[in-house]
Every structure is written in structure tokens, then in C-alpha cells.
């Protein structure tokens, strides 16, 4: 049972990790904590749903276009809502993200709130038995999809020239501007990438659950918990935090009580921030306050 709980925890956790990674990238690049990140996930799911079910397009086409759309949404959010705030205080940015999260939720609810929307599974198939552990093909897809996306980000940030410059730009925007980086464009792109990771997470998880306007809230809290656990602003921490959170939830449910599954994330956030605010895996990074 332990092995099964742990493996299933990793499957769910890898989606949390992916969403947390998207938020972390944005935070690293712009010092903005995006309280509307859950809505990127939700919009990603709806984009795929509308293209696949509404327009009747095939999954590959729908997915490709949905990813493109979400990138665009991220860029637009930055251009239209974030950039005009200029050098406003931290509070204003936080509030702006709260505001657009409710805007997106409201718009989606207005158009799709009365439907029960769902996506067909990406992969059908009988469960595969590995002795004490049973997995669906879809589970492999989730791990592989999340794993691949995360690997791409790591390779990009740690090993490419552009990635290193990008990191520099996030740490010292003025210096970056001096060496010729177009910082505003870079910020736009990072918003786009963040929204795109939301869409990837949505693709991995939405076919096995419903698509509904409130689906972002839960995911946001899980991503926060993952980031907090792993140390705010640490890419590796976000991933480790996400995976750990998935396992913690399952172990809580399996060994303690099923009513604790839903608050595991909240408890993790509160405990970590009270006891070790720098995160279990992370180093302390002072944030823009």
C-alpha cells in the first residue's frame, strides 16, 4: 500500500510541481507572486475543451492551439494589466493578479458556467499491474509530460546562454538592460511561459476530471504549498515541493484520515511558514515587500 500511495502521490504531485514551477519562473523573473496563476490552469483546460469539444478538432491540433493561446494570454496580461502599473508597490501587483483571476473566472463562468464540461481521456487503456503497484497508461503520460516540461526548463535555465542571461535579468533588471536585454519583452515572455505551463498542467489533468470555472483555486493553493515547501523562488524546490505534497496528501489519506487530504496543502503552508519560512529544501531569498 505504501508503494502505491507514494507512486500515485508522485503522479498527482508532478502536476502540482509543474504549476508551482510556472509560478516560480514568473516570480524569479518579475518578483511578482501571481495569485491568478490557478486561472491560467483553468483557462488552459477550457481552451483545450472549447477547441476539442466545441470546434471538434483533434487533440493534437486543439492542444497546439490552446498552448499558443495561453502563451498569448500570459503576454497580454503582462502588457495590458501588469506593465502599466509601472513601479507600483507590491500590494498593487498582488491585487492586480487577484483582480484578473476573478475576471477570468467570471468570464468563463458567464460563458460556460451552466454546462458540465468534460474532456475525453487522452489515453485509454487497461491498468498495468506491477505487483504491488498498479498504474494507468494515463499516469505514465502525466509523469512523462510533467517531467519533460520540467526538464526543458531546467536545461534552458541552467545550461543555455539565453537561460543564464534570463536569470541575470531577473536578478538585476537594470544591469540586464545595460547589457542589452529588452527587459519588458523578457517579462512579457515570462508571463507567457508561466501561462503556458498552466496549460500543460491542465492538459495532463483535465481529461481525468471535469473542466469547470472554479478548478483553478485548488490548484493555486497546491502550487503555493509546493513552493512554500520547496522554498519560494527555487526552481528545484518547487518541483521537489510539488512531488512531496502529492505524496504527503496520499499518505495522510491512506494512513491518517481521508478527511485530511484536502487540508494537507493548507497545513503544509502554515507549518512551513511558521517553522521554516525558507522552505524545507530551499535557501532564504528575501522578497520584494
Amino acid at each position: 500500500m505504501l508503494a502505491q500511495l507514494a507512486i500515485s502521490g508522485i503522479v498527482v504531485g508532478s502536476v502540482y510541481a509543474l504549476v508551482a514551477l510556472g509560478m516560480t519562473i514568473l516570480f524569479r523573473a518579475t518578483s511578482i507572486v501571481n495569485f491568478g496563476h490557478g486561472e491560467f490552469f483553468m483557462l488552459g483546460a477550457f481552451a483545450i475543451y472549447v477547441l476539442k469539444q466545441g470546434f471538434g478538432w483533434s487533440y493534437p491540433v486543439a492542444i497546439a492551439i490552446a498552448f499558443g493561446l495561453l502563451f498569448l494570454v500570459g503576454v497580454l496580461v503582462e502588457r495590458v494589466l501588469i506593465r502599466p502599473l509601472g513601479s507600483a508597490p507590491f500590494l498593487s501587483f498582488a491585487m492586480m493578479t487577484v483582480a484578473f483571476s476573478f475576471l477570468f473566472k467570471g468570464l468563463t463562468r458567464f460563458f460556460y458556467g451552466r454546462d458540465v464540461s468534460m474532456l475525453p481521456p487522452l489515453l485509454n487503456g487497461e491498468p498495468l499491474d506491477f505487483g504491488s503497484v498498479v498504474l494507468f497508461p494515463q499516469d505514465f503520460l502525466v509523469i512523462a509530460g510533467a517531467g519533460a516540461t520540467m526538464t526543458i526548463f531546467f536545461l534552458f535555465f541552467e545550461y543555455t546562454q539565453v537561460g543564464k542571461i534570463v536569470q541575470a535579468a531577473s536578478q538585476a533588471p537594470r544591469g540586464a538592460a545595460l547589457v542589452g536585454i529588452n527587459v519588458p519583452a523578457f517579462h512579457s515572455a515570462m508571463w507567457g511561459v508561466a501561462a503556458l505551463t498552466g496549460a500543460v498542467a491542465a492538459l495532463l489533468i483535465a481529461p481525468s476530471t471535469l473542466v469547470y470555472p472554479d478548478m483553478g483555486g485548488q490548484m493555486l493553493v497546491h502550487a503555493f504549498a509546493a513552493m512554500t515547501l520547496g522554498g519560494f523562488g527555487s526552481l528545484g524546490g518547487a518541483v521537489l515541493g510539488g512531488l512531496s505534497l502529492g505524496i504527503i496528501e496520499n499518505l495522510m489519506g491512506g494512513y491518517v484520515s481521508s478527511s485530511l487530504v484536502e487540508i494537507s496543502a493548507y497545513l503544509v503552508i502554515m507549518l512551513v511558514l511558521l517553522v521554516r519560512p525558507q522552505g524545507v529544501f530551499g535557501e532564504w531569498r528575501t522578497s520584494r515587500v
Partner: protein
């Protein structure tokens, strides 16, 4: 309201310059009070109910503003304080048969305790850490309401007894109105006095610059605890009134939707403005009732309003008033 405002005006250091403004303001407040007292004669029961809701939200907004606007801390625990207050009033009336005034005090006490509980991490973590912490705290409270069935009656909530005294003035809504109005005037009046005293200045100093504040002898920790505690007290009492207003307390009332509403009211009313908070509450609780025929766009309208405020009037309605009507300017206004 005239009594409250008068005594706070004496504590108001502008007053030396504005002796004439003071008389005018006194007259204005007296008129206002008369209108507020006479209001029930002009409205039907439904409208009275909506007005009662406005009074509660005015109290919530002022309370939330203490932390968000004056202390400048991004805390998302307001819906939790509200819920704690509602549960405290309802449960002490049901389980302990407390009389109404005591049950409301219990709400205030519970809110204060919750406020201080949130202030403690606020001493260690700030900014988005605090925001996330308080978000988690609020959801945890909701989980407690749902799962502590034996005390809280679980997810379906419970009915709050209706004190007979509230029906003495014809309709219970009218009775509630005078009760709510009295509580709100006393509580908001006290808040105004607090904000204009050295305590309020300490809040704003902490918001401005914690290090500078500390160098002036402000205990940052104490200022945060007082602000959060007081905010929790006001919002807790508002929660107690909310329990009475609806006659029923359910966990669902204190979730993210509630938080958005509180947040929007304070932002649109204006950070660091008591008057703005009150007007914001009236606007945002009244507008959905007027727009009943256009249901479904509440979230969209609120969020667009929020965005508009952030772009075009960062000081909200309160800032607008301060710019236009100097007599209504509030000391300690965010500049």
C-alpha cells in the same frame, strides 16, 4: 454618529484651523444621523434587509482596511475573521444560550484572537508569505467548521435563535437595523479615534518604513498585533451581526467569494480611508441588488472595477473625496 465624530474631532489636530469647518461638519453629521434614524420609514422589508447588509459590510470594510490600508499588510484572513465571529455569536447563543450582547462580544473576542493568531506569523513573514499564510488559515477554518460537526453542526450550518427584542419595532429587520447601526457607529467611531491617535500613526509608520518606525520608538510587533487584533475584533463583530441578519450560519459563506467582495470593497473604497470603506460597502453591496436583472456578471464587474481602481484611482473613492472635498479629508490619509 454626531457624538462619536465630535469627540474624535476634538482629538483631531486639524481642528484648530478648521473651527468653522467643524460646525459645518457637525451639522452635516447631525443631518446624516437623522436620515439614518428615519430611514426605516422609507423602505420595505427587502430594502431594509439590503441596508442591513450594507451596514455589516461597512464594518467589515473598515476592519479590513485597518490591516490592509493602514498597516499595509497583505493579509487574506478577513473572511476567516468574519466566519469566526459569525460562528462565535451563533454557537454561544445555541450552546450556551448567551444573551445577544454577550454573544456579540464573544464574536469580537473570537475575532480578536483570530486576528492575533494571524499577527504572530506576520511578525516573521511578510508580503506574499503572509498573504499565502492567511489564505491557508482561512481555508483551514472552513475545514474546521465542516468537520467539527459536534460543535459547529457541520457543513449544513445551523440556525441562530432570533432574539425577541429585535421584533419590538414592528419588523425584525427594523430592529436589526437599529442594533446594527448602533454597533457600527460605536465601533467605527472607536476605530476613527484609534486611527487618529498615536496607535493609528504607528500603523501607518510601520506601513511606510518599519525601520524608521522602530527608530522612533514604535514597537513594530506591538503595532502589528494591535492592528490585526483590532481588525479581527471589528470583522468578528460584523460576523456576529451577519449571523443575526441571516439567522443561519454556514461554512460556505466565508470562502473565497466573500474574500473577493471584502477585498473589492476596501480597494474601491480606498486604502486607508474610513469614509471610503463605508461608501465602498454601500456601493458594492447595493449594486448587485440593483443589478439583479443582470445576474452573472458580478465577478466580472467587481474585477473590472478593481482593475480600474488600480489604474486610474489608486486611492479609491476615499482619495477622490479627499481631493474634492477638503472638509472630508481624513488625517493619516495615504498620499
Amino acid at each position: 454618529m454626531s457624538k462619536t465624530a465630535d469627540s474624535s474631532a476634538t482629538g483631531n489636530y486639524r481642528v484648530n484651523h478648521l473651527a468653522r469647518g467643524r460646525t459645518l461638519r457637525g451639522l452635516g453629521l447631525a443631518t446624516c444621523l437623522a436620515l439614518l434614524l428615519g430611514l426605516p420609514l422609507l423602505v420595505n422589508e427587502y430594502q431594509q434587509f439590503v441596508v442591513n447588509t450594507m451596514v455589516i459590510y461597512a464594518l467589515i470594510a473598515v476592519g479590513f482596511n485597518v490591516v490592509l490600508g493602514y498597516l499595509g499588510q497583505l493579509a487574506f484572513a478577513n473572511a476567516a475573521f468574519f466566519g469566526v465571529g459569525a460562528y462565535a455569536t451563533g454557537l454561544t447563543m445555541v450552546h450556551l444560550a448567551l444573551p445577544l450582547p454577550l454573544a456579540l462580544l464573544a464574536a469580537g473576542a473570537a475575532g480578536t484572537v483570530a486576528g492575533i493568531a494571524v499577527a504572530l506569523p506576520a511578525l516573521r513573514v511578510q508580503g506574499h508569505y503572509l498573504a499565502i499564510f492567511t489564505l491557508a488559515f482561512g481555508e483551514l477554518m472552513r475545514w474546521v467548521y465542516v468537520h467539527a460537526d459536534a460543535v459547529t453542526f457541520g457543513p449544513s450550518g445551523f440556525n441562530v435563535p432570533r432574539p425577541a427584542a429585535l421584533g419590538l419595532l414592528g419588523s425584525p429587520e427594523r430592529g436589526k437595523y437599529y442594533l446594527f447601526l448602533a454597533v457600527a457607529i460605536i465601533a467605527i467611531g472607536a476605530t476613527v479615534r484609534l486611527l487618529r491617535s498615536r496607535f493609528g500613526r504607528a500603523f501607518v509608520a510601520v506601513r511606510n518604513n518599519e525601520r524608521a518606525a522602530a527608530s522612533l520608538g514604535v514597537s513594530v510587533a506591538r503595532a502589528k498585533i494591535i492592528a490585526f487584533g483590532w481588525s479581527g475584533f471589528l470583522v468578528g463583530v460584523a460576523g456576529g451581526l451577519y449571523a443575526l441578519l441571516n439567522g443561519r450560519v454556514t461554512p460556505d459563506s466565508f470562502g473565497l467569494a466573500q474574500l473577493l467582495l471584502n477585498f473589492a470593497i476596501v480597494m474601491i473604497g480606498g486604502l486607508g480611508s474610513v469614509l471610503g470603506s463605508i461608501l465602498g460597502a454601500i456601493l458594492l453591496t447595493g449594486a448587485p441588488e440593483l443589478l439583479r436583472n443582470f445576474a452573472g456578471i458580478e465577478e466580472i464587474v467587481f474585477s473590472l472595477l478593481l482593475i480600474g481602481v488600480l489604474f486610474f484611482m489608486p486611492k479609491g473613492i476615499g482619495g477622490l473625496i479627499a481631493a474634492r472635498i477638503p472638509a472630508l479629508r481624513e488625517p493619516l490619509h495615504r498620499e
